[in-house]
C-alpha cells in the first residue's frame, strides 16, 4: 500500500494518513467497542484520518492481506 485516495483530496501518499483503529465490531457495549476486535485477514473496517491533508476522518474497508482498499467513505456528513 503506497497511496490512498481521499474522497476530497484525491490520490495522496500513505504517509499523509493516520490509521486510528479498527471499527468496534465486537459489540456495542463500551468494553467490546473499546477493546475487542473481530480480526479478518481479508476484510478490515477501519477509521483513518487524512491528518496531513484535509484532516477528514475516513472509514476505510481494506483487505489487510493485500492492502487493497475495498471502500472509502468520507465521514462527517449526514446524508
Amino acid at each position: 500500500m503506497t497511496v490512498l485516495s481521499c474522497p476530497f483530496c484525491g490520490v495522496r501518499e500513505l504517509s499523509e494518513f493516520e490509521f486510528h483503529k479498527t471499527l468496534p465490531n465486537a459489540g456495542d457495549d463500551p468494553l467490546s467497542a473499546t477493546y475487542f476486535r473481530i480480526n479478518r485477514v481479508d476484510d478490515s473496517q477501519e477509521y483513518w484520518q487524512h491528518v496531513r491533508g484535509c484532516r477528514a476522518w475516513l472509514q476505510v474497508r481494506r483487505n489487510p492481506s493485500t492492502g487493497q482498499v475495498l471502500e472509502m467513505i468520507l465521514l462527517g456528513t449526514r446524508t
Binding site: T2, T34, Y47, Q49, R55, T77
Partner: protein, 980 residues
C-alpha cells in the same frame, strides 16, 4: 609506479589521473573505475571475504560484485564497501582494501581458512557456550565486518525530487529503450532510469545491428528520439524500492555517495527492464583472484580496454561464449581456450556461432566441448585450470592468467516480486522470472528471461504497447525495432563441476559470505532444508550483494542434493531496497536541525534576544528560563517563580492548543467530550474542564471559554494539542456527523501571554489603556472580556496557571510582540517553563506527569466531577473494579519529613520498612515560597493519607528521603491569591 600505456575504451578519455590504493600511487584514465584501472595495471587481488578472509579479485562489473569492495577516503572520513567496478576514479582518490590486517597480501586472520569446513555453516551454534558467548564475543567481533566504520559526520542533506510520469522504465538497455520508445509514441509521459552513466546496456559491447544501424548508432538515435518525445532520462540512477504506483530511485553518480539524490516517482505503469545478472559456476577454488564472470570481462575490455594482453580461459554453458571470445580476441586479448559444457552439436544451431568457432580455431584458440573446468589453480592469482572431459573423464591442465566463467543469467526481478507477483522458473534457460504481475507492472528483456536481441525487441515493444493501452493510451500499430545480435544462448544449465565431497568446501557459491557447496550439504544434513532455512543457517545471500550471483546457483545445487526440481526449491524472498542505498539518501533532507520542523511562537525572537534558553518541547521551542534571572536553570527558575509570587511576571503560553467550537449544538458536543458540562457555562465565563480517553483515563485538561451561545473556545495543553484536535474531530465526524457543530483549530490564531502575580491587574490596566480599565477591574475569577489591542483582537481571561491573581491575554499574533513589549515596559519580567512548573506544583496543578494516560479522575481527586453524572466519552468504563482498589494510586502532595531534604520526580515511594513500591513522585520542585522541596505523587490509596510517612527511594541517583504525605495544594490552599 610504471607508466601505463594509454588504453582505449568506450568510457575512457585520454586524460590521465592518479589515485592511491593501499598506499601506492596508480595511474588511471578519466572514465576508469577503480576496478578497471587496477586490473589494467595487474592488480588482481582487491579484497578479502568476510568469514575466511580469502583473498579475492573482481567477479562482476556491477552492484552484484561480492568481492571487490573498497574503502574510499582517509580515516575518519571514509566510505566503506564501495563496489570497485562502479567507483569512478577522480584525481587523488584514496582507496583502501578491506577486511585485512596488516595488509591485503598478508592477513593474519586469513589463517582461519586453514580450518576451512571446520568453521562452516552452523559452527558458532555448536560451541563457545562455556562459560558464555560473552567470553568469546569481543574477539569474534574484532574480526567482524568488512569496511572501516566511518568516524566523521556524513549527514549533509540529500536532495529529494518528486516526479510524475505515466510509465516508469527501469533500465535503459535494448528492451528498456524499446519499451520507452513505444510508450512515448503512444503519448504517455515516460521516465527512464538507468543505473549506468550511459544508456545502452549490453548493446555497449554486443555485436548487434538494429533497424539497419550498428547498435551504438541505434542507441544514439533512440536517445534523440526519446528526447524529442519528451522522455526524461536519469542516468546513474537505480530503482531501489516502491510498488503500486510510488517508486523510489536513487541517483549515485560515480558509484559514490556525495552527489546523490533521491527521486520519489509517481507512475501509472512500471516497466522492469533491469537486465539479468550473470552467475558463476561452482568448481574447486573458483574464488581465486583472476576467476571472473565472462560478462565482466567483456565490459572491462570494451569500456576500459583493461584486459589487453591477458591470457584468459573461458568456461561457459552457452552460445554467447563464442561471440564474447571472438570480441575479446579482436580487442587484443589472447584467449587461450573456450571450455563448453555442451556437446559440439549445439554449436551448429546457428551460423554466427559456427563462424565464431571457426575464427577462434583459426586464431589458435582451443575449443573444447562437453568439457568443464573442475578446478582453478594458483595461490594469489589464477595460473591455470584443470579441465575434464565430461564423457571420457580425461583431465588436463591449461595455463592461463584469467578464468572467465558464465553459467547463464539470473533475471533481475526484485521489483517484480513486491506487492504481489510470484516467481516462475524456466528450466531451459535456468532462469527465475516474475509472473502474475499486478496491473500496471511488466517485465521485459533479460529481466523477463528473454536473452536474444531480435525476439527481445519484439516482445518489449508488444508488452509496452499492451501496458500503455491498459493505461488508456492509444497506439497505432507500433513498429518494433528489428534487430540482430548475439545468437540465442542455447543454454544448457550447468551448475557445478564434479569433485570429491572433501573438496566441496572449496566450491564457492556466495563469495562474500564464503558459503560453499559443503555448507549447503551440511545445512541439509542438519535439517535445514527449505531455502529460507538454508539462507538463515548458512548466511547465503545476506551480504552487500544480497546474493545476486549466488541465489539461483545455490537453489540448483540444493535441488541436486534434494533430488527435487529447482522450481520447488525456489529462492528466498528478495527484500527492498533492490539496490543498497545510503542511509543519508534515505534520510533525505531530514537531517541535523531539519530532522523535525521547529514550531515557534510569535515571541520567539524576543526570547532569544533577551537571554531565553530555548529547549525543544515536542516540536515547539520554548524558553526554559532567562539567563538574566540566573546562570542556570535551577537558580533562574527559583528567582523567576519567587518574583511572580512577590510582584509578578509574564510567560509565553502561545503553545496552548485552542479549538473554536461553533454551532447550535456546540455546547452539547462539548458536554459529550468533557467530564463536566460545557453547556451550563454562561457567555463571558470560562471553566476548567477535563477530558477522558475512551478507556476512562484522563486525557487532558484545559479551560473552555463560552464566547456566545453557540460559540466556545476549548483550550488544551500544549503537548496534547494535536492529539486533542484529532480526538475532537473524530467524534465530530463519526458521532456528530451533520449536526450543528463545527471545529476550527485556532491554536496559531491566538498568541497567549499569561500575566501573573499581585501586580498583574494594574500592569494590564496600564498597558491596555482606559478603555479596558473598568472591564479588567470587573473580571472575577474565570471571567473574560473581549476587545482589541493595537488593531488585533484581544481576550482578557482572568484565570491562573500559577495560583496568583493572573490573566491570560489571548491576542492576535500580529500584536503579540507589541503587547509583550508594552508589558515589559511596565517592568513586568518574563519567566520560563521551569518557573511555571514550580508555581503549578506549589498549587497542585496537573501536567503530563500526572495526566500520564494511567490515571482516572478519581486517581486525581476529581471523583466529584464524575459524580455529576455527565455521560461523556470514557465515562462508561470508569466503573471497573480495579479502579477503586486500595492498591490503586491516588494523587497526593509530598514534602520531606525534615523540611529540608530534596527528592526528585521519578523516585519510588515505599513504606520505611519495605522496598515494595507503593507509588512514585510525579513532580518535584524547590519551592521559593515555602523554602523547601515539595512535590506531587501517586500513592496507593491505602497509604495516600495525609501525614503518612513514606520513603522516596531513588537508587538511580543515590537519594533516599523520608517524606510525608500532604494535601496536593502546597501554597495558598484557600485560594486567597487567585481571588484577590
Amino acid at each position: 609506479m610504471k607508466a601505463a600505456i594509454k588504453r582505449v575504451g568506450t568510457r575512457l578519455s585520454d586524460k590521465t589521473i592518479q589515485f592511491f590504493f593501499d598506499g601506492r600511487v596508480y595511474q588511471a584514465q578519466v572514465g576508469d573505475t577503480a576496478a578497471s584501472a587496477l586490473l589494467a595495471q595487474g592488480v588482481n587481488a582487491l579484497g578479502r571475504s568476510i568469514k575466511y578472509r580469502r583473498l579475492r579479485g573482481l567477479l562482476a562489473v556491477g552492484p552484484e560484485e561480492p568481492n571487490a569492495l573498497l574503502t574510499v577516503g582517509l580515516s575518519p572520513m571514509v566510505i566503506p564497501n564501495v563496489s570497485a567496478p562502479q567507483l569512478q576514479l577522480r584525481e587523488g582518490l584514496v582507496l583502501k582494501s578491506q577486511n585485512r590486517w596488516p595488509s591485503l597480501r598478508w592477513d593474519v586472520a586469513s589463517l582461519l581458512q586453514l580450518g576451512g569446513g571446520f568453521f562452516g555453516a552452523g559452527f558458532y551454534y555448536k560451541t563457545f557456550m562455556w562459560p558464555s558467548w560473552r567470553t568469546y564475543e569481543p574477539l569474534i567481533r574484532r574480526l567482524a565486518g568488512l569496511g572501516e566504520a566511518p568516524g566523521a559526520s556524513d549527514a549533509t542533506a540529500v536532495s529529494v525530487e518528486y516526479l510524475r510520469c505515466d510509465v516508469l522504465v527501469a533500465g535503459g538497455g535494448a528492451a528498456g529503450l524499446t519499451a520507452a520508445l513505444v510508450a512515448a509514441q503512444s503519448g504517455a509521459r515516460v521516465l527512464l532510469v538507468e543505473r549506468e552513466p550511459v544508456i545502452g546496456g549490453e548493446l555497449e559491447f554486443e555485436s548487434a545491428v538494429i533497424d539497419g544501424q550498428p547498435a551504438a548508432t541505434w542507441v544514439a538515435t533512440t536517445q534523440k528520439t526519446l528526447e524529442s518525445l519528451g522522455v526524461r532520462t536519469l542516468t546513474d540512477t537505480t530503482l531501489v524500492g516502491g510498488s503500486e504506483g510510488v517508486y523510489i530511485a536513487h541517483r549515485e553518480p560515480g558509484g559514490l555517495a556525495g552527489h546523490n539524490g533521491v527521486f520519489r516517482i509517481r507512475s501509472g505503469g512500471l516497466v522492469i527492464a533491469m537486465g539479468a545478472i550473470e552467475r558463476p559456476i561452482a568448481f574447486v577454488d573458483n574464488d581465486i583472484p583472476g576467476v571472473m564472470l565472462l560478462g565482466a570481462a567483456e565490459r572491462l575490455s570494451r569500456r576500459y580496454g583493461a584486459l589487453t594482453g591477458r591470457r584468459p580461459v573461458i568456461f561457459a554453458n552457452h552460445q554467447r561464449a563464442y561471440a564474447a571470445a571472438a570480441r575479446l580476441v579482436k580487442a587484443g586479448v589472447a584467449v587461450q581456450a573456450v571450455i563448453d559444457t555442451r556437446p559440439a552439436t549445439v554449436l551448429e544451431q546457428d551460423a554466427t556461432t559456427v563462424r565464431h568457432y571457426a575464427s577462434l580455431k583459426a586464431s589458435g584458440v582451443l575449443c573444447l566441448s562437453q568439457s568443464v573446468v573442475v578446478a582453478a589453480k594458483g595461490r594469489r592469482a589464477v595460473t591455470g585450470v584443470v579441465i575434464k572431459h565430461l564423457v571420457s573423464g580425461q583431465a588436463k591442465r591449461l595455463p592461463c592468467d584469467l578464468l572467465l566463467t558464465s553459467g547463464g543469467w539470473s533475471p533481475a526481478m526484485h521489483a517484480g516480486l513486491q506487492g504481489g507477483g510470484v516467481r516462475h522458473y524456466a528450466a531451459d534457460s535456468g532462469a527465475f522470472t516474475a509472473a502474475q504481475q499486478p496491473t500496471g507492472r511488466v517485465t521485459v528483456g533479460a529481466s523477463s528471461g528473454c536473452f536474444e536481441l531480435a525476439s527481445l525487441l519484439t516482445e518489449a515493444a508488444r508488452i509496452a504497447a499492451a501496458l500503455v493501452s491498459d493505461l488508456g493510451f492509444k497506439l497505432d500499430s507500433p513498429r518494433p525495432p528489428m534487430g540482430l545480435g548475439d545468437p540465442a544462448p542455447q543454454l544448457m544449465p550447468y551448475w557445478r563441476s564434479p569433485c570429491t565431497q572433501a573438496l566441496e568446501k572449496r566450491q564457492f557459491i556466495d563469495f562474500q559470505n564464503d558459503v560453499t557447496v559443503a555448507d549447503l550439504r551440511a545445512s541439509l544434513a542438519e535439517g535445514f532444508i527449505d531455502i529460507e532455512h538454508v539462507k538463515r543457517y548458512t548466511t547465503l545471500g545476506v551480504g552487500t550483494d544480497q546474493g545476486r550471483t549466488s541465489n539461483v546457483l545455490a537453489a540448483a545445487i540444493l535441488a541436486e542434493f534434494k533430488g527435487e526440481s529447482i522450481e520447488s526449491v525456489g529462492l528466498s524472498r528478495p527484500r527492498p531496497p533492490y539496490h543498497p542505498m545510503t542511509m543519508r539518501a534515505m534520510a533525505g533532507w531530514r537531517v541535523g536541525a531539519a530532522l523535525r520542523i521547529s514550531k515557534r511562537t510569535p515571541l520567539h525572537d524576543w526570547h532569544v534576544a533577551h537571554g531565553g534558553v530555548l529547549d525543544p518541547m515536542g516540536l515547539w521551542m520554548r524558553p526554559r528560563f532567562y539567563l538574566s534571572n540566573g546562570v542556570d536553570a535551577a537558580t533562574a527558575a527559583v528567582a523567576e517563580a519567587r518574583r511572580v509570587r512577590t510582584t509578578g511576571g509574564m510567560v509565553d503560553g502561545s503553545t496552548l492548543g485552542k479549538i473554536e467550537v461553533v454551532g447550535a449544538e456546540a455546547g452539547l458536543f462539548l458536554d459529550s467530550m468533557y467530564l463536566t458540562k460545557a453547556s451550563t457555562i454562561k457567555v463571558g465565563r470560562s471553566k476548567y474542564m477535563v477530558n477522558l480517553r475512551e478507556d476512562g483515563m484522563v486525557l487532558d485538561d484545559g479551560i473552555v471559554l463560552r464566547l456566545a451561545p453557540d460559540r466556545f473556545i476549548a483550550t488544551t495543553s500544549s503537548g496534547h494539542a494535536e492529539h486533542m484536535l484529532s480526538h475532537f474531530e473524530h467524534y465530530r465526524d463519526v458521532d456528530w456527523a451533520g449536526r450543528a457543530v463545527t471545529l476550527t483549530d485556532v491554536t496559531d490564531a491566538w498568541s497567549v501571554i499569561a500575566v501573573a502575580g499581585p501586580c498583574s491587574r494594574s500592569v494590564i490596566q496600564k498597558v491596555l489603556g482606559s478603555d479596558w480599565h473598568a472591564r479588567v477591574a470587573a473580571l472575577t475569577h474565570m471571567d473574560f472580556a473581549r476587545g482589541e489591542f493595537a488593531g488585533a483582537p484581544l481576550t482578557v481571561l482572568r484565570a491562573s496557571f500559577s495560583g496568583e491573581l493572573a490573566y491570560e491575554l489571548h491576542i492576535g499574533p500580529s500584536a503579540a510582540l507589541a503587547l509583550w513589549e508594552a508589558l515589559s515596559a511596565q517592568g513586568l519580567e518574563p519567566y520560563g517553563i521551569d518557573a511555571l512548573d514550580i508555581l503549578r506544583v506549589e498549587k497542585g496543578y496537573l501536567v503530563s506527569s500526572e495526566l500520564n494516560g494511567e490515571t482516572t479522575p478519581d486517581d486525581l481527586n476529581m471523583g466529584s466531577l464524575v459524580q455529576l453524572g455527565n455521560p461523556c466519552v470514557g465515562r462508561a468504563l470508569l466503573n471497573r473494579p480495579a479502579f477503586s482498589e486500595s492498591t490503586r494510586a491516588r494523587l497526593v502532595g509530598v514534602r520531606a519529613l525534615d523540611g529540608r531534604s530534596s527528592f526528585l520526580a521519578g523516585a519510588q515511594l515505599t513504606d520505611p520498612s519495605s522496598t515494595r513500591p507503593l507509588g512514585y513522585i510525579t513532580s518535584s520542585v524547590f519551592s521559593p515560597t515555602l523554602n523547601e522541596w515539595i512535590g506531587l505523587a501517586l500513592v496507593a490509596r491505602a497509604q495516600a493519607i495525609e501525614e503518612a510517612t513514606l520513603v522516596a527511594r531513588d537508587p538511580l541517583r543515590g537519594q533516599e528521603t523520608l517524606i510525608r504525605v500532604t494535601a496536593t495544594v502546597h501554597v495558598d490552599p484557600s485560594g486567597e491569591r487567585i481571588k484577590s
